[in-house]
């Protein structure tokens, strides 16, 4: 049976890819586009790796699949957050549907895949899976020992190693850029080696792999990757970084070519990112602003501005738990990644306002906030929970989710200023990612209208002639599939039994919260300074 490949490029954007393609640095992608279709890929609210890749896997938005952030509220009204895990994915996935129909799957480096679901095939989780415990994340049992026999197997570089991440990006001195970029070139090669080994040994049907180096390079090196921002006359160091970035993408292109070649000429190939990317100059200190507006009260009112201790420790694990006055706070941001504001409903809160009143007051106040450097509103869009997260799990999402103008980032740290302009611009997430597809039934040589992230799962299932759950938010995108193909073989649908977590080998839940890791990781990724 022809295979279907999902080649995930975390954070990829045509802003970076197109110039590289035009200059011959990514010949395989150029060929793939010429033989198939391309389009912008519209991400979801929030345009963030865990919920967005979960949308790719399920065809649903967070209110239906249950994942909103790197961390999840323990309960809808809880101030405690858990580490988001596969148990939070309360939906059928492309892996589960394919497995249930007897097809064999490979899922490599996708977030939210720990503990690994029991699939018909292979899982090596990604996201924040620490390298020391990668063995626990591999499925089926015994896979880790099999992978250890591969020539370049190196879990320290394959999975998350906070030491390496922190070394490279916390403060990231100029001399550390090069090692950081080379690390990601090696990391992609290691994931490719695993995938190609599995494909060589077993006849798999649905193959998915996420390469996340683009996201990590773009956070740090945006000013070297976006041609509009590159220095006109780079110095020697800048030129070295530019060259290394381009080398990363060239090697990635070759990796993709090898995987597709191994999959056979009749394979359906889908290249997708979880979100796009753009420049980020400014930081908005959301909790400081909430304090100024009377929504948030710190426990220690005698606080003085100070440098944040760079040592990541347990003090940061549950920062908001320990630092807020919970009798008087009515709204707070728990993580910078979600761009979310949570409302605390309590009778003794400031002014005794109920949720609806706080919500209305917040929206009104947020619309007034101006970026001091541009004079423009810093909040481009405000998404209410009811609007953005409709579904059985919407109460686990933040009450408000913001889209900030001009790629500004949020910091949840206490601050005596509301805004800060970065010394150098970084990269940050934006809506429009990349979509490229080629294969039987896919249109050829066309640049088509925007595809939505929720359409990826229906398309993948359709390509394998599998039924699509009726509760997905997406469709088999008609601008991608040839009309005659749809006419000859209309999509099949099935009604799932209900919202249940993916089955694993155990019934356990992860319910630990580690904000030290959140902050360390987000800092490493450039979400916070």
């Amino acid at each position: 049976m022809p295979k279907t490949l999902l080649l995930g490029l975390d954070g990829a954007t045509f802003t970076v890819l197109d110039p590289l393609i035009e200059r011959g640095k990514m010949p395989f992608l150029e060929k793939l586009i010429a033989e198939g279709v391309r389009s912008p890929l519209r991400s979801i609210v929030p345009a963030l790796t865990p919920p967005a890749w979960t949308t790719v896997m399920t065809g649903k938005r967070p209110g239906k699949h249950g994942v909103f952030d790197f961390f999840q509220k323990e309960e809808p009204d809880s101030r405690y957050f858990q580490f988001a895990s596969s148990h939070n994915v309360k939906s059928e996935t492309i892996w589960s549907v394919a497995s249930e129909h007897g097809l064999k799957v490979v899922s490599l480096n996708f977030p939210l895949m720990f503990p690994p679901p029991a699939v018909n095939g292979y899982i090596v989780p990604g996201g924040w899976m620490p390298w020391r415990q990668l063995r626990l994340g591999c499925y089926p049992p015994g896979l880790f020992d099999r992978l250890k026999t591969l020539p370049s197997f190196n879990p320290r570089e394959l999975a998350l190693d906070m030491t390496l991440e922190a070394k490279a990006l916390e403060g990231c001195a100029a001399e550390e850029y090069a090692d950081w970029i080379r690390l990601h070139s090696r990391r992609e090669a290691r994931w490719s080696e695993i995938l190609r080994s599995i494909m060589a040994d077993d006849d798999v049907d649905l193959v998915g792999v996420v390469f996340d180096g683009a996201d990590k390079l773009q956070h740090l090196c945006w000013r070297f990757l976006d041609p509009a921002m590159r220095p006109a006359e780079p110095n020697a160091w800048e030129q070295e970084i530019i060259d290394l970035c381009e080398e990363y993408f060239a090697r990635l292109d070759a990796i993709l070519a090898d995987i597709v070649e191994q999959s056979g000429a009749d394979a359906t190939v889908v290249v997708a990112s979880d979100h796009g990317f753009g420049a980020s100059h400014d930081v908005f200190y959301i909790n400081a602003w909430l304090e100024e507006q009377g929504f948030l009260v710190w426990k220690d009112e005698a606080w003085e501005s100070q440098e944040v201790d760079p040592q990541i420790g347990f003090a940061n694990i549950t920062r908001h738990i320990n630092e807020l006055n919970w009798d008087r706070t009515v709204a707070y941001a728990a993580t910078p990644s979600s761009l979310g504001i949570n409302i605390v409903e309590q009778p003794n809160a400031v002014g005794g306002r109920d949720r609806a009143t706080v919500l209305a007051d917040l929206v009104s106040a947020l619309r007034q906030v101006r970026n001091p450097w541009t004079g423009q509103p810093i909040v481009a869009q405000i998404h209410s929970r009811d609007e953005a997260f409709t579904g059985p799990f919407e109460r686990y999402g933040p009450d408000l989710t913001l889209t900030l103008a001009d790629g500004a980032a949020i910091s949840i740290l206490r601050s005596d200023v509301l805004f800060r302009r970065r010394d150098i611009p970084l990269g940050n997430h934006k809506w429009d990612g990349v979509f490229i597809a080629r294969g039987p039934g896919i249109r050829a040589g066309e640049s088509v209208d925007e595809v939505s992230l929720v359409d990826i799962a229906p398309l993948l299932l359709y390509s394998l002639d599998l039924p699509i759950p009726t509760d997905v938010d997406g469709v088999v995108p008609p601008q991608v599939v040839r009309p005659e193909q749809i006419e000859q073989r209309p999509p099949k649908w099935f009604t799932p039994e209900g919202a249940t977590a993916m089955p694993t080998d155990s019934d356990i839940e992860i319910d630990s919260d580690d904000e030290a890791t959140i902050l360390s990781r987000l800092r490493a990724l450039g979400y916070v300074e």
Partner: protein, 100 residues
């Protein structure tokens, strides 16, 4: 006086740590007094994942509250010994059992 750890829970957690230590080449001894971060060099995320496996055996535990409590300690004391984790699991495992 140091509390004596539940031998069954201690043995299970030591087994788990020793199994994984083979993958990351930790060769030091692991005892009740061993600190996860300082002595074994783990990251806090490792603790989260370790907590997952512990809960697989002992049921859901309120780890977020546990870590929040640790976060309130002075910086130099923000670490967890194997014995402390064993005691925590033992205490809350009993609570879970009592509720059931």
């Amino acid at each position: 006086m140091t509390r004596k750890a539940d031998p069954e829970v201690l043995a299970a957690i030591l087994d788990l740590i020793n199994d994984m230590a083979d993958d990351w080449e930790y060769s030091g001894p692991v005892t009740e007094e061993t600190l996860f971060l300082t002595d074994m060099g783990l990251e806090s995320l490792d603790l989260v994942i370790l907590g997952t496996m512990i809960q697989q055996r002992y049921g859901q535990l309120p780890f977020a509250e546990f870590l929040a409590e640790i976060g309130q300690r002075p910086v130099e004391e923000r670490d967890v010994t194997v014995g402390e984790l064993v005691n925590y699991v033992s205490d809350h495992r009993q609570t879970v059992a009592a509720r059931e």
